[in-house]
Symmetry: C2
Subunit: 462 residues, 2 copies
Amino acid sequence: MANLDSVLACLDLNLDRSVARLSELLRIASISTDPAHAAECRQAAEYLAGDLAAIGFDASVRDTPGHPMVVAHHDGPAGAPHVLFYGHYDVQPVDPIAEWRTGPFEPVVETRPDGTRCIAARGSADDKGQLMTFIEACRAFKAETGGLPCRVTIFLEGEEESGSPSLNPFLDANRAELSADVALVCDTNMWDRETPAISTGLRGLVGEEVVVRAASRDLHSGYYGGAARNPVHVLAKIIADLHDETGRVAIPGFYDGVDELPQAVRTSWQALGMSDEAFLEPVGLKLPAGESGRSVLEQIWSRPTAEVNGISGGYTGKGFKTVIAAEATAKISFRLVFSQDPERIRAAFRRFVEERLPADCRAEFHPHGGSPAIQLPFDSPVLETAKAALSDEWPKPAVMIGMGGSIPVVGEFKQRLGMDSLLVGFGLADDAIHSPNEKYELTSFHKGQRSWARILAALGAR
Amino acid sequence: MANLDSVLACLDLNLDRSVARLSELLRIASISTDPAHAAECRQAAEYLAGDLAAIGFDASVRDTPGHPMVVAHHDGPAGAPHVLFYGHYDVQPVDPIAEWRTGPFEPVVETRPDGTRCIAARGSADDKGQLMTFIEACRAFKAETGGLPCRVTIFLEGEEESGSPSLNPFLDANRAELSADVALVCDTNMWDRETPAISTGLRGLVGEEVVVRAASRDLHSGYYGGAARNPVHVLAKIIADLHDETGRVAIPGFYDGVDELPQAVRTSWQALGMSDEAFLEPVGLKLPAGESGRSVLEQIWSRPTAEVNGISGGYTGKGFKTVIAAEATAKISFRLVFSQDPERIRAAFRRFVEERLPADCRAEFHPHGGSPAIQLPFDSPVLETAKAALSDEWPKPAVMIGMGGSIPVVGEFKQRLGMDSLLVGFGLADDAIHSPNEKYELTSFHKGQRSWARILAALGAR
């Protein structure tokens, strides 16, 4: 702990210098989606590789068909774990430029009346400020102790904001080099200003389009209505059957691999104090949908869903047409959790539909992607270690939260490198990422550095 | 009966002359939808008024803002019923002209190898040939007996093929003159070549568009899926609830005013020998939908329906979008029978929807028309009289059939003049009305004349 204390003191002492380094990085307009900024993307990669080399990493800029990757290695003590840190140096475009109060690539530190400060620039929160929290922690360890408490690989991408076209080939081509015991991903938010968060789950996704066909052509509802099968009715019945009266998905086998939330996790989510009403009110809703008896946070973070994302059939233009359509279509997606298998879910859904088709109807299915959920075991030692370390740093204990959506790189790490991810980030909901006037709190930047120092020390001590 | 026999003999003797008169009418290109043919529409009206005056009717051509009407009156014996005969002298356009084997306005009588004959021309079956069956019957009565067995008003329209814009104002303006005990409408088909048919019911129609709204904007199904209400699910459940497991419409009160078919009618429909399979096979279906235990003919002729004619919600373009829509829309129509009240059905449907809405959803309704069913009482003396008269004339007994669709003038007669209609026609399914090479069988024309003579005699004798 003596070592950690001096590292933390070093970070405190050098905050202004770390802000200056971050500002240098923020001045580089590394907009990955715009070919006119390709040189700046490379410049950002080279800046970071240079900085990592200066710290003592074996760092290199690695070419891809798109923007380059940065890969840097540093040894750790014998027996210490090997961690791979992931971040991205590319940023979003800046439009609408007129809405920025200061230049998007002219970072400024703003001090509010209450004394709190933030740094405003494109990429400050997403993700340059976040990735620099980790690099600053490494720098302080090197300065104070001459080494790092873990073996560390740093892997920085330059195409995260433009679909990561080079990511998978690069992971496959460098599997051995990039595989570690765990990935540390710093691209997420805190629960609130005082409460650090670890995202322990990202839901997976299965997309299916189903077309139900009945008659060989559209029919006149006067001549055929009553006698002829209406595929909109067939489809509506299937959709209605998807959930039982308690809101559970009624597809047989759907919940295979879906565990109940550990009581400790449930309690911690309840302790967040997010009421269903507070969650739904901003979008004009009052009643939680989904499985009865489960909170909205539990729903979106830990429960699988079946949602119709689109439906169409028959006449949908202005006015009225008394037609019985020949076909009706629905796009349906399933959010997956825990170990639900996307292809088993897809097959179970198709059986569910087929079993409900009258003998003279046919169904046609079109798959639209499938990816499993990411679920860090709730009792993982890495998770417990990180949670304790974060709780030591911040005013309130760290919480484990879920994410309803997805971060693709986390799935690729798991699938291609067999590596779990620990998602820890220090962004706030009002950071305006992807919008004008993006900012990153200096508290996030400073205590983020300290948090990583604590996490690295704790992981190394295990 | 001596009188009727001589009238029938007169019709037999004069068939060639009646074909010549019909041919003269068919040569007039009275296409109502094309302003270039306005003069020919008037010419057809004048030809008919002149012919009726020659028979002994008090006949006039009556101007409207569109094409003129023909109205002709003839007295009947004291105590005899007053009938209003309706037909239309206008015809459909002739495109595609290249597909006609003979000129559409150059009527020719074609004799087939088996000796049967037909007259080919635009309007031969729809409706000039049909309306002339009635006029020829009147002519023969006048020739043989000096009078008519009923008081007869003949009302001929010239805008039936172009939406009848002048009809309702004309009916309203001439209510007293046009009101009779019953309307005779000759614009429908036989069941088959040997079996005459009386259409005893036309289904009514209520159209409703319903929009179900949930959240105040489209939501991301990752961030909100499970917790937020999906209006497509709400709408699908409502549609699924519309019918119970036996296919009955589940809206409370929906069947108020819906009578069971008299056993005699049901038996007569069964005797038609139309299997469910034979009805559905041409459109690629096998299983009758609708209420279980009822034949397809019973369904489309005598049972009310609830059909979704269109549905849409969420993302319906190519590919996939993981959205939870803010709203979903369905266009739903109800076919009505017997005395179902359109506005009560509409109100009951709206209540049905409202009762199924979660507390944070709203429904918006847009009405799209409503008209009651037309149902001639199955035990009406006029119906029985006509049925017996037709059965005397044709090889097989007359059948009472329904119509799934509608003939607007029948509803207007009922609503504006309080007058039921007797729908008797001699068209055949292969007459190609509205298509190239329209034809009318000479058997239809000849036995149609004899049928009206029998019906008029029987009505007059009651």
